[in-house]
Symmetry: none
Subunit: 422 residues, 2 copies
């Protein structure tokens, strides 16, 4: 089965955003054995969108269009689709009622009338009810058997409709092939080092296939297998995933594609322990990640963000001598912050993070210097390192390092020390 991906939106052509939707959709299609042969992108121009749809439908079995389904005047994908199909537009009262009810929930006064355009569906087309957004997706079958899907351009809304409706339909059309993926994630190791360690396992192999994805302080390793049944696909992956995990060792924090904060939440829950944080440089980012996991209130008590030196002292009890001596970016300060947070929130574990994010030095420490402290029953531990790069990157890596120190502690794994004297 051949698919084509069409992006609609002048913002794509102006280069305001990259067409990451096409990448995501292409990857999902390849996983279920559908060949994507072309991408097209076009601006918010009716004639040109119709031309692009005509070309795509002439050479693909399935066309997936993203963008141009919103409420504003420049959202014209549904109009272009109706013109291409040669059918009138029909307003669906049940969508209209749903839109009005949804808008009323915002408490922002009357709904702008142009929102109602989202209740329009080309005659004969089906629609996909949105959950997160307000723009329904559209599904049109052409007389020659080709099918056009149109979904919103907002990535989260696109993904929702692809996963909820379109990929299952395409899988069914593509026939009996099951795709299974296993994703291992690791932190504290670089992508090229990961490749060096495991690449020989996949030399020349396409089933399972291997993909690496690196983001700040983390490498994902995805193994994907195709087979006629789920059992066979799983059997293809399992021994390789085990070997990859064995070779990489304790840098692997999950085999189930959990985020690091989810892994930490699971481990805290299993151990029946509560956590308190103390942050300085990261300003609350670690707390934000911990609490992004639903149910975090079962183990997370609070976070003292002590950005000012006086607050380190008055809120967490960091000693004057520590601030004046080793300074706010030091092993001693990190340990006193962790102990202070544990005491302040009456938690089982205190985890702290202090550093100089840059661009300026902070408290006598060079930009990029980071100290992480952990305080628990029978254990206090500090780790220091210096990271390179911009402020955002220094912060992101520090979040990762602090959550990973906690993960290792909860798993009983060896804890890294200061990587160099600070």
């Amino acid at each position: 089965m051949r698919a084509e991906i069409v992006g609609v939106g002048t913002e794509l052509l102006l280069g305001q955003i990259a067409n990451t939707n096409a990448r995501w959709i292409g990857e999902r299609c390849s996983e279920i054995g559908i060949d994507v042969l072309f991408h097209q992108a076009v601006g918010d121009n009716l004639d040109r969108i119709v031309d692009v749809l005509r070309l795509a439908a002439s050479r693909a079995d399935v066309v997936i269009v993203t963008g141009g389904l919103g409420p504003t005047q420049d959202d014209i994908t549904r109009d272009a689709l109706a013109i291409f199909l040669g059918v009138p537009m029909e307003r669906h009262p049940e969508i209209e009622a749903w839109l009005r009810e949804r808008f009323a929930g915002f408490g922002r006064g009357p709904m702008p009338l142009n929102n109602l355009r989202q209740a329009d569906v080309p005659a004969g087309a089906r629609y996909i009810q949105p959950i997160r957004g307000s723009a329904p997706g559209l599904i049109a079958d052409l007389p020659d058997g080709a099918r056009i899907y149109a979904v919103p351009g907002v990535p989260i809304e696109m993904v929702e409709m692809m996963e909820g409706t379109i990929l299952p339909e395409l899988s069914a059309l593509a026939g009996p092939v099951v795709i299974r993926s296993t994703t291992l994630r690791c932190t504290g190791i670089g992508e090229s080092r990961v490749a060096e360690i495991v690449a020989d396992l996949f030399e020349g192999a396409t089933n399972p296939s291997l993909a690496y994805l690196a983001s700040s302080g983390e490498v994902k390793i995805r193994l994907t297998a195709k087979a006629p049944t789920q059992e066979e696909a799983t059997a293809l992956i399992a021994p390789l995933a085990t070997e990859v995990e064995h070779r990489l060792g304790d840098v692997v924090f999950t085999r189930t594609d959990e985020r690091l904060e989810e892994a930490v939440g699971r481990l805290l829950t299993d151990a029946g322990k509560t956590l308190a944080l103390a942050e300085s440089m990261t300003g609350g980012s670690v707390g934000a990640r911990i609490t992004s996991v639903p149910g975090a209130s079962a183990y997370f008590l609070g976070d003292a963000v002590v950005y000012a030196a006086a607050a380190k002292r008055s809120v967490l009890g960091v000693r004057e001598e520590t601030l004046a001596g080793p300074g706010p970016v030091s092993s001693a300060c990190a340990l006193e912050m962790a102990a202070g947070a544990r005491r302040l929130f009456s938690a089982d574990i205190g985890l702290s993070l202090t550093g100089a994010a840059g661009p300026e030095p902070h408290g006598g420490s060079e930009p990029g210097a980071v100290w992480i402290g952990l305080d628990a029953e029978h254990l206090t531990h500090a780790r220091g390192y210096v990271s390179t790069g911009e402020r955002d990157r220094v912060r992101a890596w520090a979040e990762q390092a602090s959550l990973d120190l906690l993960r290792r502690y909860l798993e009983g794994k060896p804890l890294p020390d200061g990587d160099r004297p600070l």
Copy 2:
């Protein structure tokens, strides 16, 4: 002048990488007044690449092709170009000599013969000498006046040839034109409502042009003008930007594309005031945003993330009666948290945020219920509302709403109350 961007490479279709080259090239073209009307992407297939080139050259004055110029067997853009042009390939001895010399410099033994394919140029085409990579770019002029540029897909090599050769050539062809943009950002209003208020100003207008970009809780409005000089471009934009700002009123928080946390930082600096936060539901996200701005330590003292009810009481002094009565998601709790944070960190202003992010109700409040409190000299104020959607969205909107309340207070603008009784 009309341009079209063509990406060549099966890795684009498989979704292994996003077509960030198209984004970069589109942005550069728009800056010099060249309209990009379409993108296409195609895999490493000779017939299909020729088809794509033919279509692009039929409707654009300039076609910019990225990818498929390397040494391996699947790099076939130059072959496709020769076929499309209907000319033979010619091997250039000076490129060959350069390739051999370059390879010898690596000390890796004899050069693989397929590297010599990079010395091939379609008859009549010019080439661009690479600096970083080994693949020359290609420039072919068609009989009808259209021009095709082909550059490597490796971003750094693409940028080198675009900046060194192609953009200067295109600028000369496009004539003297300056592009200026002004971006207004607003929060507390939806994209469709913004469009309703300002759309008539831009009806049928292309200079200045108007673009909306909506993200969680925020709408950007970008006005872009082209003119022969900077002064003329600015003169085209300024009155419209002023009218847009006037019509939208105090939902506009910047005319200089600042992030909301940057606007708040600027206002705090100007007022010489210090800030302390108290967060519950958002777990530190507001603090993370405030401290993402370099220099935040001049006005930000700290953030008490009091996730557990006991911490609200012990750390911030929220009263037992408040927690037992109106509960943790209430006007009273938000105000006591704000006052507590102000006191704990000895700050001029305390800003608090408490709510039920979902998916479960929290402290007797339905998912999506949010209260924001502000405590300053001569003012205490609380705002409550209920937002819809997933946990992430509820949190992101609450961050926006709290920062916006602070922004309005610092600007002396009216403060929104509870949007509905909670």
